[in-house]
């Protein structure tokens, strides 16, 4: 295999040129925060948490969508990056109605963990407190838009892994919403197979099974990744 030399956080590495900065970092135990990334499905650089500094480029670039290049010099944990990660986390919380104490995902939520990770002790931005629907029309699952961070993992999993494309996105800016089919109640979807992959892909308490209470939620996003690995290997 051809390799190229790169430097990440002063560490010299020889890496596969087909890989992204994020993939290389994960393989070499270099921590990068992510929210919209889910191994096995296509990365879109939406959450902006994986921003890295690359020597010679003024802009911060998302590690999940940027391929490595020969002699690239990358920094993943500078004060500038930490500042933006904190801002991003605060904006996630300010944009919708996240109340960890009563959320079914309390203690098992990637957004909550992110808050701890970036040491978010308060939020500097005004909360939008939008009015968001809770779609309970599906017989087994609930879609609570109050807790959605628009990572679109559910959209991509449904499309790329299940092949159903029940989920999609409508509107723009802060009015953006995940929709089922052409914005119909989830329970009336003609494409949803009720496979539950979106539930496991969702990093927060936005999608959850109706029958459980706080403390009983078990999300396993890794099963999506394992499934895609097996498909690649044609198992």
């Amino acid at each position: 295999m051809n390799t190229i030399p790169i430097t990440i956080n002063d560490k010299k590495l020889d890496v596969d040129p087909a890989k992204t900065i994020l993939e290389v970092c994960r393989e070499n135990d270099i921590e990068i925060l992510t929210m919209c990334h889910l191994k096995g499905i296509i990365d879109i650089g939406a959450c902006r948490l994986c921003l890295v500094e690359i020597e010679g480029i003024n802009k911060l670039l998302s590690a999940c969508t940027t391929k490595v290049a020969a002699n690239m010099v990358v920094k993943t944990s500078t004060e500038r990056i930490k500042k933006y990660q904190r801002i991003t986390a605060e904006l996630f919380f300010a944009e919708r109605n996240h109340v960890c104490s009563v959320c079914v995902a309390n203690g098992k939520c990637e957004l909550q963990q992110l808050g701890y990770k970036v040491e978010m002790d308060h939020i500097r931005y005004p909360h939008l407190f939008p009015h968001c629907e809770v779609d309970t029309s599906h017989p087994w699952y609930v879609m609570d838009h109050n807790r959605c961070i628009m990572c679109t993992r559910c959209v991509r999993v449904c499309n790329e892994v299940e092949g159903a494309h029940n989920w999609d996105v409508m509107n723009r800016g802060h009015q953006v919403r995940i929709i089922s089919d052409f914005n119909t109640p989830w329970g009336e979807s003609i494409t949803c197979t009720s496979c539950g992959k979106c539930l496991h892909a969702c990093p927060t308490g936005a999608i959850w099974p109706k029958a459980i209470v706080q403390g009983q939620l078990e999300k396993k996003p890794e099963i999506i990744s394992e499934l895609m690995e097996k498909r690649k290997m044609k198992l």
């Binding site: 104490s101 009563v102 079914v104 309970t136 017989p139 109706k210 459980i212 209470v213 403390g215 009983q216």
Partner: protein
């Protein structure tokens, strides 16, 4: 007639925020008194639109003192919606946690909030008339009170991993079992907890003996009573049927299913408080005031379920010669009799061989569009009533909280005590503490927080009809 008013704001050493207004006539005599609850929570409204299965998680946040009661009433309503029952072991574990909360709450009420009045005196220095003052003068009592509360919280922690806003009480049962290690650790607490409760009983009985006239006359107007009882009329906290009695002890309704609560209880709003006025429907608003809580539960009960508590219960019953005891002061005593029963019952449950079984949950799904759950919170009978659409989304929520049901009586008690102790010409802090203590007897839980210290600011202002200040008394 020219009216002057006394304002007690805030009322201290209670759970929540409230004020009292005392109206005086020209001669300085009390003409009226109003108990205002000046906080608004809005749970009934903002829970609309949520999934009904979220309610056992959302509603405990109403209160940091009695979250388990809210969870249990809520989960029972959910079980009615699903049409299922919890497993035997789940019921044992729920009872244990409920006992833990009741003990913890009663310990807080007696040792932290009320004992300063009994042990230090109503007219003692307000700066020291609190748990810190008790810790200084009676360190063993203060420590025991704190440890009894710890035991109560540990009963929840060792089952669900959390002391206060517990997780894992799910429709159909429990999410977590009790391990053998935790069962043994909890059993080790029993002897100490029994000793502490009995110490509390000795304190209150001694106070009764030394202050018989005051205890018997303190806010003792007759009312009806509501409480939950077992099938034989025995005292019950977790699961049973409702019993209403009148002021003479005559049973008005017995073995009423909590699902029928609306047939017997109605509510009315008043313009001076966010707390509604519930009343016993068959007798109407004017004659239907009833009380709930420890005093009501022991007044309605035929017997206790455990031997030591039964012995104390018999002494309590002898006070009223078998008839209901009306003095609000007896809330403290009945709270401790319940605590005694709690410790004995906890020991019984912990020795049940099925308490560590792994068969802890039945599973169900939405089947009915209405659910009503009830339990006895530390402060009295609690109802959760939900209506849903066909997907399980809540369209209506009604929560009838124990303190709300005591509201008319608390208001009446304030008036009685104010008439007994307050004279407008010469207001002393100790007088107003007695008025506050009438409220404290009921241990009202007005919100989810505890404002426990006597060091909280209190300002009393006497104003004339035009609102001009006549006298101002401050406590900081």
């Amino acid at each position: 007639m020219d009216k002057r008013k006394l304002f007690i704001s805030p009322v201290t050493r209670i759970e929540g925020h409230a004020n009292i207004t005392i109206e005086l006539d020209d001669n300085g005599n009390v003409s009226d008194a109003l108990f205002h609850v000046n906080e608004f929570r809005g749970f009934e409204k903002f829970c609309e639109g949520r999934m009904y299965t979220e309610m056992p998680t959302i509603t405990p946040r109403i209160c940091g003192i009695c979250p388990t009661s809210h969870t249990l009433a809520s989960v029972k309503a959910c079980e009615m919606i699903q049409g299922i029952q919890p497993t035997y072991t789940a019921n044992l574990l729920r009872r244990l946690m409920h006992i833990g909360q009741n003990l913890s709450s009663h310990a807080l009420s007696f040792f932290h909030l009320s004992s300063p009045d009994f042990l230090l005196g109503y007219d003692s220095d307000p700066a020291k008339r609190n748990i810190l003052g008790i810790a200084e003068k009676f360190p063993d009592i203060a420590l025991r009170g704190i440890r009894l509360r710890k035991f109560g919280q540990e009963l929840s922690e060792r089952i669900t991993g959390k002391k206060i806003h517990i997780m894992g009480i799910a429709p159909g049962g429990m999410a977590y079992p009790l391990t053998e290690e935790n069962r043994k650790a909890l059993l080790n607490w029993i002897p100490e907890a029994l000793q502490t409760v009995q110490l509390g009983i000795n304190i209150i009985r001694k106070f009764h003996e030394e202050n018989t006239a005051m205890v018997q006359s303190f806010a003792n107007s007759p009312t009806l009573y509501l409480g939950t009882v077992g099938s034989g009329g025995e005292h019950e906290l977790y699961d049973g049927k409702l019993r209403f009695i009148d002021a003479d002890g005559i049973i008005l309704q017995d073995q009423v299913s909590p699902q029928q609560y609306l047939d017997f209880i109605a509510e009315r709003s008043v313009n001076w408080s966010y707390l509604k006025y519930p009343y016993y429907k068959p007798l109407g608003f004017d004659k239907g005031f009833y009380r709930v809580g420890p005093l009501a539960r022991l007044n309605v009960a035929t017997r206790m379920k455990t031997p030591l508590a039964q012995k104390e219960f018999e002494h309590f019953k002898s006070i009223g010669s078998g008839k209901p005891v009306h003095g609000a002061f007896y809330y403290h005593y009945t709270r401790l009799i319940e605590a005694l029963s709690d410790v004995e019952d906890a020991e019984r449950i912990l020795n049940d061989p099925d308490v560590t079984s792994l068969h802890i949950q039945h599973h169900g799904r939405w089947n009915y569009d209405e659910g009503i759950g009830s339990t006895e919170a530390p402060r009295g009978t609690l109802f959760h009533h939900y209506k849903t659409d066909e997907t399980g989304k809540l369209v209506k929520v009604n929560l009838l909280i124990a303190t709300g049901q005591n509201n008319p009586s608390m208001n009446r008690s304030v008036l009685e005590v104010a008439r007994q102790y307050v004279k407008g010409d010469d207001i002393k802090e100790g007088m107003l503490n007695r008025v506050e203590s009438a409220i404290r007897c009921y241990d009202p839980c007005l919100s989810c927080s505890t404002h426990a210290m006597g060091s909280m600011p209190m300002v009393i202002e006497v104003k004339d009809k035009k609102g001009e200040l006549i006298k101002r008394l401050e406590r900081f």
